[in-house]
Chain length 330, copies 2
């Protein structure tokens, strides 16, 4: 295993420390563990908390800031945060308006966030939740019952976070987050695995002429292997699956071409070139495109494509100002 | 070679097409080749052009937009753009206030930009230039006489671009760009090579227990090999070299921890954790930190650290609004 790290058991701690030292104007760390919250607490409005295992950077700490999240909780690499961590995060950001938990659909995440939510409610904090399940590659997986939550989660952070910033109530922010979830679909593929530092070896083996189709974000292989193919061909497979799952006819969409960590921007742009062409031939209008590292799997060489079907409210909230370490919108 | 690409000879074209399709609000492509300019031409102020070979994404097209560049010229992967390309870029953005060329110090780049500048001057366009040479790893290299221009170039784009936006004259913008160059130092290291698509195989071989110290940004090996070491140890080597080259005593700095393309943000943050600690012990104050992909070498797993010694003018310009695909500042 070759990585720019020190002791394997310090990876998560040193990463969070390095993040708060990089962005003190945005985030600070709670004393109770790897939980980051906004440096300036948002008062009187619905607060948003998200998180999950480490290894998805910039998710989720990179999205803490004005217009997006109020707190991000980071478990060990690819491991759910504990209920105590989430609970401390909720307490740190809670206002009278309440707290929305944005949970990616993994059994451990859902269980631990829900437990934390109950602990907070027992103390009189209003808590609501949504569960993101945008991955069309699988119905059930090793990691979860139902579809997995992947890169589409970032759209939930952005749009629900923007609505919370307007002073909307908890039910409205929750409903908007759910509206994004109902309208976003994602699928990915990879050509090389990643190595969890504590494991010390790659999560799967893959031949030089093969790729994994339908990857998740925890270093697991895809739902099936394919012979290596062109960027356009794998993009077609992914778009077919996404467009077959939700009716995008005549709609406007936000596109996200996301790197799993090691895929260079050159290749993401080549993929986006074909995404844009395919959508144009199908009469689907691209409103806005995001290309880069949004929801990664450490150093996996892979990518995912997300399509969010937009309405006018979502467009306005997507365009609203955001100022976080990893997502800025003027 | 495993990559998300189509035909090898279409990599640069499809990448640029994918970029302008992703960000039409920021950039458009000229008909004459892989030159991108702002969608809205900046009028009456000094215009900035930069560029180089492809493979450094988001550099340089990602920095075209308000507060930074007006044009970016992309040659083939790791290959200087032609004088004609640069000349077309200059003509497209030229105003009466003149054009500043920000050139990274590589023999081909300098020669071709200078030739283009002369062609433009022959048509009455005022042209000035600066040459960035921030890499302290080498004195001369295969690629250039003198130090190479690497990630510090992004600080030149940001700070000189912000000054140009205020309406400052060409000599002042050039002088400010030079002031950044005089005060920025960079050095990098890598643990895996990258593969130029047209070459089809990695640029160098490296054993599982080795790393390259003093890499450039064109897939070349470092100035020497070392046994694999901890993130803190390689960070110490790099900081020693940078701090030994310029007197940063008592100053405020901007820090950039840059990924060569495949290094996950987890590792960049672990590196930054130690950068921040070392600078604190030396009494050097970190004013602002940038962590991510700024100047890459396709999918090299490597990183560089840049330190820019700031004065009050530079701080103000670094903080000025910028709105480009890859660099936003509210």
């Amino acid at each position: 295993m070759k990585k720019f790290i020190n002791a394997v058991d310090q990876v998560e701690n040193e990463m969070i420390q390095g993040m708060v030292k990089a962005f003190p104007q945005y985030v600070k760390k709670l004393d109770c563990g790897n939980v980051v919250v906004r440096t300036q607490k948002k008062e009187g409005k619905v607060a948003l908390i998200s998180g999950g295992g480490s290894g998805h950077e910039p998710a989720h700490g990179g999205y803490v800031g004005r217009g997006m999240l109020d707190a991000a909780v980071a478990g060990a690499v690819f491991t759910s945060p504990t209920p105590d961590q989430v609970y401390e995060g909720i307490k740190a950001i809670a206002t009278d308006a309440g707290v929305l938990m944005v949970i990616k659909n993994y059994t451990g995440d859902v269980m631990n966030f829900e437990m934390a939510g109950e602990m907070a409610e027992a103390e009189g904090i209003k808590v609501a939740q949504v569960v993101v399940n945008d991955d069309v590659a699988v119905q059930d997986s090793t990691w979860t019952v139902g579809r997995r939550g992947v890169a589409g989660t970032v759209f939930v952070h952005k749009i629900a976070g923007a609505l919370a910033e307007t002073g909307a109530g908890l039910e409205d922010v929750q409903a908007m987050a759910q509206r994004v979830i109902n309208n976003v679909r994602t699928m990915g593929a990879a050509i090389s695995p990643c190595t969890i530092p504590a494991a010390g070896k790659p999560g799967f083996e893959i031949a030089d002429d093969e790729m994994e189709v339908g990857i998740g974000i925890h270093g697991e292989p895809g739902t099936y292997k394919e012979k290596m193919m062109s960027a356009d061909a794998i993009t077609d497979i992914i778009l077919d699956k996404i467009l077959g799952d939700l009716d995008y006819t005549g709609s406007e969409v936000a596109v996200m071409v996301n790197s799993s960590g090691a895929t260079p921007q050159m290749e993401l742009f080549i993929i986006n070139n074909h995404v844009a062409d395919v959508l144009a031939t199908k009469g689907i209008k691209v409103y806005k495109t995001f290309v880069g590292e949004y929801m990664t799997s450490i150093e996996m060489e892979g990518m995912s494509i997300s399509l969010l079907k937009l309405d006018d409210d979502m467009k306005k909230l997507l365009d609203a100002q955001a100022d976080t370490p990893a997502f800025k919108q003027l």
